[in-house]
């Protein structure tokens, strides 16, 4: 028996290390996030243990893991790629308040009024357009147009309950009200909208010409454009351009609070925003004075960006998801 105890102590003891360490749950593109986290590790000397998210249609995501770990958190920093689920996590007491001096260059409209999370570098909800189709020549400027007869069977979107598409649906419901939103969903259904597995699958269906219009994110479009694929891009200025920032939250009761603050401070720095803006995910920097290179997207160039009450939009998320299920997914 004693021998077994020694073995267990040895095995578990091997895990303990005295180096400073921080654990991050990250929903951003692994290829880009890894570079940023590696750089942080190199410059700060704090070892980063990262767990990256995967598609929520195959498994529930890291947000659910945070919820399940609430009683004894394992994660220090949450890097979410959309704000509504972060608002919900903050409201459930999973995030703690950020230090006052965090990210002074980022405007109040991209952060929590109670300072529990802060947005940075965002993506725009956009229309991927087949350049050879009528949609490429005369693109719709509002998602309301997608119910028009001319786009029958030619529009696709990712599973509208998940990821940024789910967030988009909740924002539309919050912005338009329930009646308009459900009528629009019904219109989409009648117009033969197709549901794809993810934003990238949505874009791919446009590339193959199966559909003309795909509702997706700017980073999904840019990543293939940089590989030389001809794909059109349109913003829904008629509704107000929807910009979804990445979000950083510090976990309440996390095991490494100091290291977590150091990492969060780094993530919210102009330097990281510039790196994300220059990457193939072409994020839009939100910090004042952050430089955007050629080919990048500048906040001021987006036109009519919708001002969103994140908290109110997050409230509509469960209802919006049930609405889209009833209208688009139930057969």
């Amino acid at each position: 028996m004693k021998n077994w105890l020694w073995i267990i102590l040895f095995v578990t003891g091997c895990q303990g290390q005295n180096d400073p360490v921080v654990t991050i749950y990250c929903a951003h593109d692994r290829a880009h996030a890894e570079q940023i986290l590696d750089l942080f590790e190199k410059e700060s000397g704090i070892r980063v243990e990262a767990i990256y998210d995967t598609e929520a249609s195959k498994t529930v995501g890291l947000a659910e893991r945070l919820r399940a770990e609430k009683d004894r958190p394992r994660c220090d920093v949450h890097w979410s790629n959309e704000p509504l689920r972060s608002v919900r996590l903050a409201n459930e007491g999973i995030y703690r308040t950020l230090p006052e001096d965090f990210a002074p260059g980022i405007d109040a409209k991209w952060r929590d009024p109670q300072n529990r999370w802060c947005g940075f570098a965002g993506r725009v909800r956009a229309l991927a357009l087949d350049p050879q189709s009528p949609a490429g020549k005369n693109p719709p400027t509002s998602v309301r147009d997608l119910v028009n007869e001319q786009w029958r069977d030619k529009v696709t979107l990712a599973d509208p309950r998940l990821g940024t598409t789910g967030t988009h649906m909740a924002i539309l419901k919050w912005s338009w009200g329930e009646a308009d939103f459900t009528a629009w969903l019904q219109g989409l259904k009648e117009n033969g909208i197709r549901i794809a597995a993810s934003n990238s699958a949505t874009r791919d269906r446009v590339i193959t010409g199966e559909v003309w219009i795909g509702l997706t994110d700017t980073d999904d479009i840019e990543v293939v454009r940089r590989r030389g694929i001809d794909l059109g891009e349109g913003f829904t200025e008629g509704d107000g351009v929807i910009l979804l920032p990445n979000v950083v939250g510090l976990i309440e009761g996390s095991p490494h609070p100091e290291e977590a603050e150091a990492l969060a401070r780094w993530l919210l720095s102009p330097r990281v925003e510039e790196m994300l803006a220059a990457s193939s995910s072409r994020q839009v920097p939100l910090g004042k004075g952050t430089k955007v290179g050629p080919g990048g997207l500048d906040l001021n160039s987006l036109g009519n960006v919708m001002t969103i009450d994140w908290s109110a939009a997050a409230e509509t998320l469960p209802g919006a998801i049930k609405d889209v299920e009833r209208a688009l997914l139930d057969r």
Partner: protein
């Protein structure tokens, strides 16, 4: 008391890894959720149960048909020279490779249109599900065809090939029916493949409920799934004495040889060849990135091998538990082992993370203890099927003689080696499935824990196709090596005492 605890050990793993955390979480969600909303949500999902069942039934039918023909051709004829090197690995590849890699390969070359099969999303889902599960039907039906009594098998080999083939097909019929039912049940909770084709399923609806924090609705839907599955699982589990049916030697003496066999195998393995071609083409790096790509590929293989000891332990616990229960004809306990498979892995993962994790010592937090516990229970059905088959494989005379011995180690010592020809391949299949498992891994793996399958999903999620293809190729290499290993084991150990 202590002896009862020891005797019931196969159930303790299951209770700790599934039933206790699941019931506790369900209870908590019931307290915090709205009962009427959950009932309403489950009621409105009723048509979804029917459409999911229909999808699973059609896919199970085609998978059983293809697997049945595979098994028939495999067991009724002499195979081409050296076939064991390419035939079994080739047939199993679509099951042992994560579906994400296959879907991505299709998408990368032809676009998502093929996933939709050009006409309807459901057809695409049926095609992908069939492709994935046909190897399981093949394995099951081949395994069962080995239980044909020796005298009968020898008589079959003396018949003209056409007549023997017809007779074998007829003999396979009841097994095909059971196989169809089993595959139907295993496909019911499917979430991943329907998601690639945009088809809604009960499993996906459960995930969606969990992602908006509506746990109670998720549990109601899961309960619906279990209610649907339960009577059929009871029907599938055999009653009465599970006596051996004399395992056949896989000797080819007397089997007809025909060149027409290749006419089936060539078109059958064509999709596999195309899939491998696409993977290699996508993974092949530009000259400037060659070194990095080779390093990535080797690292992926190494990560797969690093997981082996843990995975080996998991299958050893699960499979030995079920084997012990099958040997003692514990039908109810086997039923309990089956049920976790029919729930999405995320539910179990979340339950363990919520209820058990706060109680385990912090020092164990850095170990994949809970992940392993979840995976032991998650593949319960595979362990049960393998255990039942492995008990059937034991020659009747040996089984009767062994049953005269008192239960315990002595009996095990005699019977376990006789079950190994089935237990080992089943366990290796289980190992490959665990290595491709994603749902509990995302929720329970400690930071830094290697998981090639999870990494593959992440890479595909962000369309890093080249890296993903390298990783998928590494997983194909690992699964092929293991398949070859168990093929060799069957070839060496498949001789019974009846010879």
């Amino acid at each position: 008391m202590i002896s009862t605890l020891i005797r019931t050990w196969p159930l303790w793993v299951l209770l700790a890894g599934f039933y206790i955390p699941v019931f506790l979480t369900m209870y908590q969600d019931t307290l915090s959720g709205s009962f009427s909303e959950a009932a309403d949500s489950a009621w409105s999902a009723l048509p979804l149960f029917f459409s999911t069942a229909l999808l699973a039934l059609v896919a199970a039918f085609f998978a059983t048909l293809i697997g049945g023909i595979d098994a028939l051709v495999f067991s009724a004829f002499r195979q081409p020279r050296g076939a064991f090197l390419w035939l079994l690995p080739g047939l199993l590849i679509t099951f042992t490779t994560p579906p994400a890699a296959i879907a991505s390969a299709i998408q990368a070359t032809i676009g998502s249109s093929l996933l939709l099969a050009g006409t309807s999303d459901e057809l695409g889902a049926v095609l992908l599900l069939t492709l994935r599960w046909a190897p399981v039907a093949f394995l099951l039906l081949s395994g069962l065809s080995l239980t044909i009594p020796l005298a009968q098998e020898q008589a079959l080999r003396t018949l003209p090939p056409k007549a023997a083939l017809k007779l074998r097909w007829q003999m396979q019929k009841p097994w095909r029916r059971s196989c169809l039912l089993l595959l139907f049940l295993l496909m019911l909770p499917a979430t991943e493949i329907p998601s690639y084709t945009g088809v809604e399923s009960v499993g996906r609806r459960i995930m969606a409920r969990l992602t908006i924090g509506d746990g109670l609705s998720g549990w109601w839907l899961a309960a619906g799934l279990i209610l649907l599955v339960f009577p059929w699982v009871i029907r599938l589990l055999p009653k009465g004495l599970w006596l051996g049916r004399s395992f056949q030697a896989p000797a080819t003496v007397g089997l007809p040889a025909t060149k027409w066999v290749s006419l089936w195998w060539i078109p059958r393995l064509l999709p596999v060849a195309v899939f491998l071609g696409v993977l290699i083409f996508t993974a092949w790096p530009q000259a400037s990135q060659f070194e990095r790509a080779v390093a990535e590929f080797l690292e992926a293989i190494w990560a797969g091998f690093r997981e082996l000891p843990r995975v080996l332990l998991i299958v050893a616990i699960g499979f030995l538990s079920c084997w012990a229960l099958a040997l003692n004809r514990r039908r109810k306990s086997l039923l309990m082992w089956c049920l976790p498979t029919f729930l999405p892995g995320s539910l179990v993962g979340l339950s363990l993370a919520t209820t058990v994790r706060p109680w385990i010592p912090i020092a164990l937090d850095h170990t994949p203890l809970l992940l392993s516990l979840a995976q032991v229970t998650q593949f319960g059905s595979l362990a049960v099927i393998t255990a039942l088959l492995s008990v059937w494989m034991i020659p009747e005379t040996e089984m009767k003689a062994a049953l005269q011995l008192p239960p315990g180690f002595t009996r095990w010592k005699i019977l376990l080696p006789r079950s190994l020809p089935v237990l080992l391949p089943g366990a290796i299949l289980g190992m490959l499935l665990i290595m491709g498992e994603v749902q509990s891994t995302l929720l329970l793996a400690p930071p830094g824990h290697p998981s090639p399958a999870l990494e593959l999903h992440q890479l595909l999620h962000f369309r890093n196709d080249e890296q993903a293809a390298r990783l998928a190729l590494a997983m194909v290499v690992i699964s092929t090596l293991w398949t070859l290993f168990f093929t060799t084991l069957i070839r060496r150990r498949g001789v019974t005492g009846e010879e």
